[in-house]
Symmetry: C2
Subunit: 511 residues, 2 copies
């Protein structure tokens, strides 16, 4: 057995059965091994950013790592920005990066690069395999590292001779440590803060945004008056009719400060201490008051849902029903964020997955869509735009039978537009809605926010017209059927139709 075979067999034995791949020459033995060994579902991406973003989306829906397959340092480099987003989402991923043979590397052939150096910035675990004999063991440790709570990125670099040499040994799956429990005295500290008569905010992240954890958080809030808030960017939120809503931290500084005004205690539940996305001259970097205390109920790797349940229990807080909400009728007429939100709430299928890289147009969409059918909402987590189409691709792979609806800003969509082809090839049930405003609207807002008055040069750098991008042609070029909507009626029809049939569809929404 060569090293590549031991790698594939070890991954399968460790529960990794999906591989998002953009292979190159140095990965041919890996590819050949995939041929010989059944059980690994291989999904081709035409660009590494598609591969890594899809692995992120898959992990968010399944809780399990997929493997990626990329080619040498530069191939990994193309996947880094969506690995950055995955790191922020705490998604488990096992990257397999082929590289030049150990003995070829000193010759400094053109593709020679600092593969390890590039991997470190996104990976909790990095190793370069040394020999075929060790590849299996390396792979088992990589999967263990990826599955360690709350989910991490592990990168295994495979010089080509470690894959083609004989002597490979399959390694058994390693145990995955369970998420550490929160100590009772920590729960008690939180209880006393909540009962102390001062204003308290619970910041809920990661696993604390599941359906049961949110229900427990609402018990706590109802009993104590605490503010519940999620970070602005989240890996996955369970929401919709019959579930408890959660507000996200607003993006603008003023709105965030207003929300947390008067808060004396910030209790973190699987979330980092909130900070604004960017600094602005003369404005604070944190949404909470300078004199607030920050304490931790559950670190991200701890069992936050159990901690919330324990805390609600200690408080003797009774269950509270979720708010009564009704499905609205679809909106008609002019396309606005408000009318769009109304139609989305009306038409979103049961158990849909909403992928949100909507940026400026989408800021107002979150609250009014809680009345949609139950769904998961997954977001751009690391701010590196170009994640939406790949995330949707991987989410659809990880949640078969559920419709994925991607709310996608036009500028951001262009970074990894190649994902559409993978959606077409795999016949994934994804409806992509491009919010086509023909500009980097977020930058126009930011330029004004920093006090500048944009002139011709600046406007040109934020303008996506001249020439206009024809999204219908682009989608069709990549094999995805598409149509343009300029009214809410047309959007309603296209959204309804696309959700009723199998396979991907793209709606070019004029906004």
């Amino acid at each position: 057995m060569n090293g590549a075979e031991s790698l594939v067999r070890t991954l399968l034995g460790s529960g990794v059965d999906t591989c998002f791949a953009n292979p190159g020459t140095s990965e041919m033995h890996f590819v050949a091994a995939l041929d010989r060994i059944p059980g690994m579902r291989c999904v081709l991406g035409l660009f590494e950013g598609v591969v890594t973003g899809a692995a992120d989306g898959y992990a968010r829906m399944t809780g399990r790592p997929a493997a990626t397959l990329m080619h040498c340092g530069p191939g990994l480099a193309n996947g880094l920005s969506n690995l950055h987003n995955a790191r922020r989402a705490r998604s488990p991923i096992v990257n397999c990066v082929g590289d030049l043979a150990t003995y070829h590397r000193p010759l400094d052939a053109p593709l020679t690069a600092d593969t390890e150096g590039w991997a470190r910035g996104v990976s909790a675990w990095v190793r370069t395999a040394r020999s075929a004999r060790e590849v299996g063991a390396d792979a088992a440790v990589a999967v263990q590292a990826a599955r360690t709570s709350p989910g991490q990125i592990a990168t295994l670099i495979l010089p080509s001779d470690t894959c083609w040499d004989e002597g490979g040994e399959v390694a058994p799956a390693l145990p995955v440590p369970v998420a550490p429990e929160v100590a009772p005295f920590v729960v008690d500290v939180a209880r006393r803060l909540l009962l102390g008569g001062e204003r308290v905010a619970l910041v809920l992240g990661s696993a604390a945004l599941g359906e049961g954890a949110l229900a427990d958080a609402h018990r706590i809030a109802a009993a104590t008056g605490a503010l519940l808030i999620a970070p602005g960017q989240n890996a996955r939120i369970a929401r919709g009719r019959g579930r408890h809503p959660i507000e996200r931290m607003p993006y603008p500084v003023e709105a965030g400060r207003a929300l947390m005004a008067g808060v004396r205690h910030v209790i973190l539940v699987g979330a980092p201490a909130p900070a604004f996305f960017f600094a602005y001259p003369g404005k604070p970097g944190r949404p909470y008051p300078e004199d607030a205390d920050v304490c931790v109920l559950a670190r991200p790797e701890q069992d936050a849902p159990a901690a919330l349940a324990a805390l609600a229990g200690e408080l003797g807080a009774p269950a509270v029903p979720p708010p009564a909400t009704e499905r609205p009728d679809p909106a008609r007429g002019v396309i606005t964020p408000e009318s769009f939100a109304r139609s989305l709430a009306a038409l979103l299928p049961e158990q849909a997955v909403v992928v949100d890289e909507s940026l400026t147009f989408g800021r107002a969409l979150f609250p009014p869509t809680h009345c949609a059918a139950p769904h998961d909402w997954i977001q751009l987590t690391g701010g590196s735009i170009g994640d939406g189409l790949p995330l949707a691709t991987g989410a659809a792979m990880g949640a078969p039978g559920r419709r994925v609806v991607t709310l996608q800003a036009d500028g951001s969509a262009l970074y990894t537009v190649q994902a559409l082809w993978t959606q077409a090839r795999e016949r994934l049930d994804v409806t992509t809605i491009i919010f086509n405003n023909r500009r980097y609207a977020i930058l126009q807002g930011e330029l004004i926010a920093v006090g500048a008055n944009p002139g011709r040069t600046a406007l040109d750098l934020m303008d996506l017209s001249n020439p206009d991008l024809d999204w219908v042609r682009i989608a069709e070029g990549f094999g995805v059927a598409a149509a343009r909507a300029e009214t809410m009626e047309r959007l309603n029809d296209l959204l309804t139709q696309s959700c009723a049939q199998r396979g991907p569809f793209l709606i070019d929404l004029a906004v």
Copy 2:
């Protein structure tokens, strides 16, 4: 004056007047400064790989650095793979990477990343600005570093407060050291090796591939019988009718070994010691015999053309005329590498720039196109595919009035397809020819080369059909007119027409 203004004024004063940009929020003060200060030509790319590849193409045609403008660590990460190619081409580039404010960074907001760490792998010089007062001086040193022979990548990271704070100071341009001369005794060593009666190969790279240097190399070869060879990947080669040809190192191991069989002395002239692109089990990594000596006439940073001229003079080698070549007639009928090469040689306009990321289909195109009108041939240098469309974009910016013809493999084109939009927006004179074989043909060859017999899984990972990519729609979607050619007659017509008019055009060539 704020830091951003001092940056723009210093860049302009140091001779950098073109900026390829994909700005984000943290670069808004830089953008605002570009608005207020005339003189910087700003070119928007829709993805950072377009930005860095275009800066590379611009540098190859002008010999001068452009600036790039990118957004935080993840934005830089998207540009790394084409910076890797630029590093291999020894192209001067000044990267300006905006980042989070110095005092916001400790808050670990979502975009926080190891920007310096990612920059190091491609940059000869990396610095993070500390204050607005120092930004001008930092920029002047960055330009000096980029322009230091033979051309380097300098990356200046700019936390947003160093740009918005007042106190900026414009720094004067710093002197650029000239390329070091080669010592006479080194020339004499080469002379004696060439006259020693043993087989000698001169490996010519970088500046030794200019018209005059190649003429001197041919004087030496004619006088001594030395073999002349260029690396397989080169930043720029001057060629065409009336110029001296140069053969490139073949990609296959067997062909490279055959070419250098019997060579006892390898003399490097601005080139690294040749190595094959990849290792293969049981095959050598170098094309020259194991017992050959390698010596250096000129290191890449030295004045290789002067060294060749001195060597030819020391040898008393008379000038030799370039081979007599005639422009062929365009080919007709079936599209093959041979017929394509013939038509390209026939129809290439005078002083065209050929950008070559043709990979498998293009391997046979180089020798038979030397009989084309005089042109420059620029290539993918670092093996990180997805460079052709951006390189062409930057080359067209750097060589106005000259037609750029891009020989582009279909799989590789998809990595940075967004470059087409920049070509449309800037109305660049680029004809892109997509060699559309609907597969990663290079991988199929490599899989067989490593002894594997591809099965269904492997073939699916190398197949770009299912669904077919419609290149005409993709190009039109990005604003570039396009047409498909399935015969040589149609190709001839489209190539002729596109070269006769202004602006970009794409030919989807069925191969």
